[in-house]
């Protein structure tokens, strides 16, 4: 009897040891590094000299830590046109900017390479990226790029004028109207309290704040009550004399309106830098979170670094992409406040004025992202909105035209 127990115990122990040994042989795959070398071409659109210098700095830092890889950077004017020509000739750069607005179309045409195999091989951690931003570059479970930076729409307010009417930035629609009413007597000439772009890329955030949606299960909702109400609010501000389009204010866009003090309030994003401080250094303004309607919401615009199936050096492209969108690269790129980090684990001490109100909206910022073919819907939409704001079209007329345009997208 004791003999049998001993055998059993030995057998059990042996099995355990054997099993443990076997277990350690089928090891969970360790992340493997991708080794790459050679030249990698990096292309983006033209940016101001300050931004370009900064990008060159980041690139040089990359080259120092990756001595085998040589980066050739080009700033391309007329970016979309040039890129489409390059894609059609099967000669795209290795790494390039992908605008979230273009992503669905370029991805659906097979111009962008999915990165999943690299992600699983290297176990690259995509969790730190803000989910809404990363989602903009995902389609059908595949990831096509990592966001390099982003900006939501914030509310720029002229602080001097705001101080003269009590100094409290509006937090709700009602407060927005109230503050604008108080500002009205202070605006001279063609100036108005609020600059209202005749663009859905600005007006849409009011729709979201009103719990409206444009697409529900693929069906357009332009004529829904929530959308109608929100647009009526937006246009209503103009009708009440509390705001006007940039053209009526005598400027090209709302950022310029703040600079030239043609408006006290405008809805723009981080692209105000370095434009506003450099061009209008004497105007005092800062960012605030946008007012909330029924819910807080704002629009976000983002760009990723991506590569293409036809790119020559995809391995090096991957290494460069992960550096540029990794913690170190992104921190360097966003250190001057010219861009906002797309990762929550990058904390930067920004120069004033503060970017915190912009970053703080990350939770409820929705990326401007539409299915392939919607560029035409918005082309019609912006023309209709400008007609409405000229008094030549009704809000209902615009919404029904948009509804039919959206329905006819193939």
């Amino acid at each position: 009897m004791r003999y049998r127990i001993a055998v059993l115990v030995v057998g059990a122990v042996a099995s355990v040891i054997f099993a443990a040994g076997a277990q350690s042989r089928t090891v969970i795959d360790k992340p493997q590094a991708v080794t790459a070398s050679g030249t990698v071409t990096l292309s983006g659109w033209s940016v101001s000299t300050t931004e370009e210098d900064l990008l060159q700095q980041v690139v040089r830092a990359f080259e120092r830590t990756h001595p085998n890889i040589d980066v050739k950077y080009d700033a391309i004017p007329n970016y979309d046109q040039a890129m489409l020509a390059k894609f059609s000739a099967r000669q795209p750069p290795d790494v390039f900017y992908l605008n979230s607005e273009k992503a669905p179309t370029w991805i659906s045409q097979g111009l962008i390479a999915p990165l999943n195999s690299y992600i699983s091989k290297t176990k690259f951690n995509t969790k730190p990226f803000y989910p809404s931003l990363l989602r903009a570059f995902k389609q059908k479970g595949k990831t096509y790029g990592f966001p390099k930076d982003w900006s939501p729409l914030g509310m720029e307010i002229n602080t001097q004028l705001l101080a003269r009417v009590g100094g409290k930035a509006p937090k709700t629609w009602a407060q927005l109207t109230a503050v604008a009413k108080k500002l009205k007597p202070l605006m001279t000439g063609t100036a108005k309290p609020i600059c209202l772009s005749a663009e859905w890329q600005r007006a849409l955030m009011f729709v979201y704040q009103n719990r409206g949606v444009i697409l529900k299960n693929g069906n357009p909702q332009f004529t829904s009550a929530a959308v109608r109400q929100a647009i009526n609010f937006y246009v209503g501000l103009q009708r009440a004399g509390l705001g006007d389009t940039p053209a009526k204010l005598g400027v090209g866009w709302c950022g310029e309106a703040i600079g030239k003090e043609k408006a006290a309030i405008a809805f723009e994003g981080n692209w105000a830098f370095p434009y506003l401080p450099d061009t209008f250094p004497n105007v005092k303004w800062r960012f605030f979170p946008v007012p909330k309607g029924k819910v807080p919401a704002t629009l976000a615009f983002t760009v990723s670094y991506s590569t293409s199936p036809a790119s020559k050096n995809k391995d090096a492209a991957w290494v460069l992409i992960t550096y540029l969108t990794g913690k170190a690269g992104m921190r360097l790129w966003t250190s001057k406040g010219l861009a906002l980090p797309a990762r929550s684990d990058v904390k930067v001490a920004f120069p004033a004025p503060s970017r915190a109100p912009l970053l703080g909206q990350a939770k409820y910022a929705r990326v401007w992202l539409w299915p392939d073919g919607w560029d035409k819907v918005w082309s019609v939409g912006n023309n209709e909105l400008s007609a409405v704001m000229e008094g030549k079209q009704t809000v209902n007329g615009m919404l029904s035209r948009l509804q039919s345009e959206a329905r006819s997208v193939k």
Partner: protein
């Protein structure tokens, strides 16, 4: 005017007339050359009024250049405001424009390309224009319509196929992207120049060619020795138009020289001072002013070929 001899040749053409005028020979002109006649007082006042009016109109035409120059001397904040003149004019923008980017190369590239394209154009368009105007060959009308047809195709439509051809030219399989040859190849001759030369040659009386033929000149000699010298004003026009068109061309240099900054032309260089939300106006204007100077010089130099007709024709407005 009694002794007009029987003439076998038509009257002396304007360009030749000018030469004769210059050498003090006889010229078949009658009207006074220049100047205020000075007979009538009311005539003179009318003249002065006309000059003053024209002067103001011309000033209007010069406004963009004037504004470009003053802006190039301002600071960025000044340039966006409603300031006519800079408070402290400085050449800072010029220094910036010239040092930030490789402007010397851009300038030389523009000069090289514009000169080359102009020369090709002058030769090919005048030769072709002469053929279309004077030589008979089957299908001439159809081919001419083909020439006109090329003007009806916007650049955006041509972009992708031409780009693909530049990367891998059919049959010879050469890569033309990023090369000067590529640019010359696609800009050898423009339909506008060809068309212009043809129209001009049509107005030259046939008698000159007949005379040349009697002298035993072949077609090329007729073209080279007779037609070309008579086409002074048209050639001047083609020179100015082609040089300026190539000089200001943004579309094709962008497509061809993308990625090779050493081959960029001035328009590409100038464009680098603007982004979607931010334009550096003083530097942009400084670069534009630098870019205008050569074309202005070309224009001033070649426009005197229009002068010959003035002294000879002398039509009083």
């Amino acid at each position: 005017m009694a002794d007009t001899p029987e003439r076998e040749l038509p009257p002396v053409p304007p360009v030749v007339a000018a030469e004769q005028l210059a050498t003090g020979g006889e010229v078949a002109v009658g009207a006074p050359a220049t100047g205020i006649p000075g007979q009538d007082r009311s005539q003179r006042i009318k003249q002065i009024v006309v000059y003053v009016l024209l002067f103001f109109v011309s000033l209007l035409f010069f406004i963009p250049f004037f504004w470009s120059v003053t802006t190039s001397l301002k600071t960025l904040p000044e340039s966006v405001g409603f300031n006519l003149l800079p408070a402290n004019p400085s050449l800072r923008a010029y220094r910036e424009a010239l040092t930030t980017y490789d402007f010397k190369s851009y300038f030389l590239n523009s000069v090289f390309l514009a000169t080359g394209v102009t020369i090709f154009n002058l030769f090919l368009s005048s030769l072709g224009g002469y053929a279309f105007a004077r030589l008979r060959f089957p299908g001439r009308e159809v081919l001419f319509f083909l020439v006109l047809g090329t003007l009806m195709i916007p650049n955006e439509l041509r972009l992708v196929p031409v780009f693909q051809m530049l990367i891998d030219f059919p049959v010879v399989h050469t890569q033309l992207l990023g090369t000067y040859q590529g640019y010359f190849l696609i800009n050898l001759v423009t339909a506008t120049s060809l068309f212009l030369m043809r129209q001009y040659f049509l107005t030259i009386p046939r008698d000159y060619e007949e005379a040349a033929k009697l002298d035993g000149a072949g077609y090329f000699k007729t073209y080279w020795r007779v037609m070309l010298p008579l086409a002074g004003p048209a050639l001047a026009a083609v020179t100015i138009l082609t040089f300026q068109g190539t000089w200001n061309d943004f579309f094709w240099p962008l497509i061809i020289f993308l990625g090779d900054e050493s081959k960029y032309t001035l328009p590409l260089g100038i464009f680098q001072f603007r982004t979607q939300f931010y334009t550096q106006w003083p530097e942009l204007m400084a670069a534009s002013v630098i870019a205008i100077v050569p074309i202005a010089l070309i224009y001033v130099f070649f426009q005197r070929y229009f002068v010959a007709g003035v002294t000879a024709a002398g039509v009083k407005g």
